[in-house]
Amino acid sequence: MLAKRIIPCLDVKDGRVVKGVSFVNLRDAGDPVENAKFYDEQGADELIFLDITASHEKRKIILDVVEKTAEDVFMPLTVGGGIKTLDDIRALLNAGCDKVSINTTAVKDPFFISRAAEKFGSQCIVVAIDAKRITQNMSDATGEDWFGDASMKDVMLNPPALSGPQAPRGNGSSGWAISTHGGRKMKLINAVAWAKKMEELGAGEFMLTSMDKDGTKDGYDIELTRTVSENVSIPVIASGGAGTLEHLYEGLVHGKADAVLAASIFHFRELSIREAKEYLKSKSVPVRL
């Protein structure tokens, strides 16, 4: 039986892990390879490096990180952050990563996903979706250059419909919009329709983050996760809000996610991936132990 996956995510800046594993004695807590090896030994099912390097000149450092990791760690590795061109993807795959996660570039140019999938195969194209519940105040939400494209009209939110009592509020497929800039800006894009469109254009998997829940540690947005998962036929990784083992269970079972991404609960606590898996197994969730 296919196991549900547990995926730790490490933020990497200028080639160094920030907020890495802090409760064990790594020789070098900022070394991505050391962190990756630690999670490998713990039985993580995959690993994600989120490259948060700001400066353009330093962006090549991640390739070196990926190369070194691939020498020692033999599990699926995804890299996200700052991917803008097909050459960026090729360089990462050649360095030894298996999948790339694309967010901003897909929002700016959805057809980038079809070009990338055509070139490298859908299996390595993860689309990261940052979704946020639509509130009555969508007046600052903006569109994109491609909003004139007739083939994309299904994913667009119509601004006038968003004010007043008809405003969709977490009910069915119209309750979430795409957000950017870490949840600070809203786009006039229906998150669930966006997911369907991304699948149609060639995405192979989703990393779905609730920007309302991210950082709260009070659980994933289960309704969002389940709605997206039920509306697409490719795997969904739930992200944003995990604080306890129960949250992982809820995301996988109630949210129908195929995998759960977690950062801080593994980095900061004496809570191991093995414990998480044993807990899930005791609740009859198929996991790899």
Partner: protein, 203 residues
């Protein structure tokens, strides 16, 4: 020396590093001559069947791969390297394969999500020598949307369930081919690569 055939499909570095990790000499190559001269060959790869056959043909590697197999050289196919051994794939209409084994490559028609992505168990039905260290029902890493249907069931070495039971490994004489990725299956996967390296040494 083991030749890892590079035909521009997917992550070959992991396979190369995997062999290196278990102390086995392997070289990535796209030269038909090097493939012909190698003691054993590995054909990895993820992506589309049609592109795989086209790239192998464009690089004049098809002949070298078929010759190697027919001469009895140890062969390890991974993912696409399994699928291309069969007669044809239904991906993009019809596409001819290398026809080492009679059979087809078909898409999952199931209610579960496709691609089949993640860790799944293998049920060993005919244990190949390179699998000596792998317990039955072990979890190995998969990522694929198509699977092989061999006409000759005697070549089926392992099966896996995902909506339907499918062939996750074949083995006949010198030919081993897996739908899962040993190079992505942590310690267990490395043991499979090591097992192939040992088999190649003895061959």
């Amino acid at each position: 020396m083991i030749a890892i055939v590079d035909y521009g499909m997917g992550n070959l570095r992991s396979v190369e590093k995997g062999f290196k990790k278990v102390g086995i000499d392997a070289t990535v190559t796209s030269s038909p001559q090097v493939v012909d001269d190698a003691d054993a060959i590995v054909l990895p790869g993820v992506g589309a069947f049609r592109d795989c056959i086209r790239n192998l043909t464009d690089l004049s590697l098809t002949g070298a791969v078929i010759r190697s197999i027919q001469k009895g050289k140890p062969y390890l196919g991974i993912c696409l390297g399994l699928q291309v051994l069969f007669s044809e794939s239904e991906e993009f209409g019809r596409c001819k394969g290398l026809d080492i084994f009679r059979g087809k490559v078909v898409r999952f028609q199931i209610k579960e999500k496709v691609p089949h992505m993640g860790w799944n168990t293998v049920n060993i039905v005919n244990r190949p020598p390179i699998f000596s260290d792998v317990p039955d029902d072990s979890y190995l890493y998969f990522v694929h949307s198509y699977y092989v249907v061999p006409e000759d069931r005697s070549i089926v070495a392992a099966t896996t369930d995902y909506g339907v039971p499918f062939t996750s490994m074949v083995w006949k004489d010198n030919v081993f081919a897996t739908q899962f990725h040993p190079e992505k299956s942590q310690g267990l996967g490395l043991r499979i690569l090591a097992g192939f390296g040992e088999f190649a040494k003895k061959a």
